[in-house]
Assembly symmetry: C2
Homo-oligomer: 481 residues x 2
């Protein structure tokens, strides 16, 4: 008997259609009912792995079985970022229009490395980043490019800053054998700045952390003094990373004053507004980007607070030609006249292949509209304010930092115990709340002390969810007195 022909091509599209429709219904139920899952899963390390076969299947398996396994084996092991009780790190959201956009982007599989390999994806990226620029109140003429995450955006920005150092020729000559470079960020800057320094060959010693004021904002005077000291010691200062919305407290560095220092000293100013930047969509919160029109580069993450799923980070720069000089491996003579409208985005970052991320941002912007996005951000800031007022009104708790945006830093008070024990009990309070599965908070360290954070940012979070978290916190603290 002849062997049947090997199966070729994609799976049966009728099966795709049927399972796809079922999956859409499932996703709708999931989004509506995410709070039915424990936000932090109750799994031990290795448990999910142990539930899966140790080897791949030899033959095909039905799509329905695979999707059932997702629900049976994967879902119970996931932290549910869409849960309205997610208050850890920076809470964020996946929304319905973006979910459809991601399916569509996967189906089209457009790879926007060159304009030519995906013209509409490239031009839509140009258009939506200009829309976003307008929504944020940033000046015209900024060049934007989508990266995966803020870590990459900051790496790319600092690579450009390095390329801009006069006489260095980092691209051609590298750093070995040259004078030592130094960049500056506050003690509260994100670890991605450290990582960028490591990757770029600047090293941890090439990043100097600048002290903050009582409100956790970088001190321009301290920056100025550090730059002078470093120059005297033979370092080449080249860049400052200001943060508009730090990870611990959402403090906003004084960008206008830092921009003055940078202008005077000839330093590249990069602003990390990964979380905070999105707030500027709401006109009353535009202060978050004060002075950013003078930045050389700025990163903000729509996947943090503009309702698109990971990953989508936006890097803006006033100096695209420097980014290009730092990254393009295309010879000059291959540049095309159309690059202003039709850039080859692979020339502005590490990755060559680039998936069609602009689609989800465009669909979210249109499905909600500028005012819709603003009203949701305004609501998150309001909810954080409400929570803060509860903490302030309760003598058993204290607020420990300003809350300019949607994050509140606080602590339960335990009278008469040493600081270290108070810290331990706060950790215990947090662990107890997280173990309920109804809320998930994370902590930070401020002035050497343990501090709890409540971060509002999920589009499904309502006042009742914040209230519930507060009740759980009070109960957990009370039981430890």
């Amino acid at each position: 008997m002849p062997r049947p022909p090997d199966p070729l091509g994609d799976i049966d599209l009728e099966v795709f259609r049927e399972e796809g429709r079922r999956l859409v219904d499932w996703v709708a139920r999931y989004l509506a009912g995410a709070e039915g899952y424990p936000v932090l899963p109750r799994v031990r390390p290795g448990e999910v792995k142990a539930s899966l076969p140790a080897s791949p299947p030899r033959g095909p398996e039905p799509l329905r079985d695979i999707l059932e396994d997702v629900e049976r084996l994967i879902l119970p092991g996931l932290t549910h970022w869409n849960h309205p009780g997610f208050f850890a790190y920076f809470a964020n959201s996946s929304t319905a229009p973006a979910i459809l956009a991601e399916m569509l982007a996967a189906a089209l599989n457009a790879n926007g490395m060159l304009w030519k390999t995906a013209p509409a994806a490239t031009e839509l990226e140009v258009v939506v980043l200009d829309w976003l620029r307008q929504m944020l109140g940033l000046p015209a003429g900024l060049f934007g490019v989508i990266q995966d995450t803020a870590s990459t955006s900051t790496l790319v920005a600092l690579a450009a800053a390095r390329e801009a150092v006069p006489g260095l020729e980092a691209r051609r000559r590298g750093l070995s054998g040259q004078a030592r470079l130094r960049m500056y960020a506050s003690e509260h800057a994100h670890s991605s700045v450290d990582k960028a320094g490591i990757v770029l060959g600047i090293g941890q010693e090439g990043l100097r952390h600048i002290p903050v004021d009582a409100q956790y904002r970088m001190s321009p005077a301290a920056l100025k003094a550090a730059v002078a000291e470093d120059r005297a010691a033979g370092w080449i200062p080249f860049a400052v990373v200001a943060t508009a919305g730090t990870t611990s407290t959402t403090s906003i560095d004084p960008v206008p004053a830092l921009a003055d220092v940078c202008a005077r000293e000839g330093l590249w100013l990069h602003v990390d507004a990964a979380y905070g930047g999105s707030a500027a969509v709401e006109p009353s919160l535009r202060f978050v980007l004060d002075g950013c029109d003078r930045a050389d580069s700025l990163v903000l993450n729509p996947h943090k607070w503009l309702f698109v799923p990971v990953d989508l980070s936006v890097l803006y720069t006033r100096k695209p030609e420097v980014l290009r000089a730092a990254f393009s491996v295309v010879p000059d003579y291959l540049r095309t006249a159309e690059e202003a409208v039709a850039p080859n985005f692979m020339d502005y970052g590490v990755s060559l292949g680039r998936r069609f991320r602009a689609l989800k941002l465009w669909m979210v912007m249109r499905a909600f509209g500028q005012e819709g996005l603003a009203s949701r951000i305004r609501e998150h800031v309001r909810l954080a304010g409400v929570f803060r007022s509860w903490v302030e009104a309760d003598p058993a708790f204290e607020v420990v930092a300003p809350s300019p945006l949607s994050v509140v830093c606080f602590r339960a008070r335990f009278a008469g115990v040493p600081a270290e024990e108070e810290d331990r009990r706060n950790q215990g309070v947090m662990d107890a709340v997280n173990a309920t599965g109804e809320a998930y908070l994370s902590h930070t360290r401020l002035d050497g002390r343990t501090v709890l954070r409540l971060a509002v940012g999920n589009i499904r979070t309502e006042e009742r969810h914040v209230r519930r978290a507060w009740d759980l916190l009070r109960e957990a603290a009370a039981s430890r007195r």
Copy 2:
């Protein structure tokens, strides 16, 4: 009259359900009928941009209108990577199981930066990368981590190689003021190696290109001589990038011999198998990874030839502790005992945020099975062989390089004209074929001459599509004689 409350929350999930179901149907039609679109779109730079509003909408727009605009404005401006006549670069595919996986990943929005932030996503990544390792015939114990693209994987691998240089302490001290590092790759290595060198501060001068043999494979003898020469001149040789499937011709560097040189010289061996590596899923093609068990790191891209959409690149290494040392900004005392089962993947690359990419690879592996994936790869190699035999049999054409995998390099012959004119006419042949919208080929330069490439790799490509491309090529060439 009181102002109505601002709209909050996500869009109406009934609308999501209805439009989602319609979109699934649309995607099914698109996948079945992608060849109805011109593979290269007929748009001029700026045309798509001009068709879109210059400013974002103030209020919300209906999802249906947005999706209709995708079809009306975006689709005609896209290069259709799913078109079965896509033979440019490395052809690749988005498949039905992966498309559903991407919708699901977006809905779950799991961010696998830490084990804790997405335990099941982390452990599924561990599991599927071990499945893939088994399918490729690679040795047990390899550590795998998903990156976005091969450019990033190679950057990460070379950062680890740099970290492994004895006495350098690149992470802490950076490269400035230190001896100059040098790495090696063949003249045919991908530009991502150059880019990684630039980003890492090694510079273009820190990458030495090694000559190739008549079959475009790196010469181990030339490598050995270059290393000796560089050591004598004060360079510190530290890494070799071998390619298993180069971009121009899919030549496969002699990894076993290069591994010998690396072992003797104490160099990190990174293998770029971004395209070629996937072929090892088919047992008869395992030669593509010969010697790779001795590599320190290896990259292959399932988004190239394992039927998942961009982006998904896999980096394997025998030395995860070096990767971690190069990238982790988490203090040692925060390491957990569970890291072998439950790694914090953010410690093995640039990005902190990590979307749930393992899901699509898992769903594709299961939906097709190991034998199903192998049979499709075997078929692509067969189709390339068929095309090659047509070219060889036609005296008006010539094959100009070996075709170990699924790419054929060839040229139309134009008797009695200078080489430069022959090159120009070949470019004309390619442009004419691409302008038909029925096929899309790209070109390369080999030994100073223009060469056309036909790359088979799309899961929807059948023999009739290859035949049609060949007919178009012969017509275009004939009309230029």
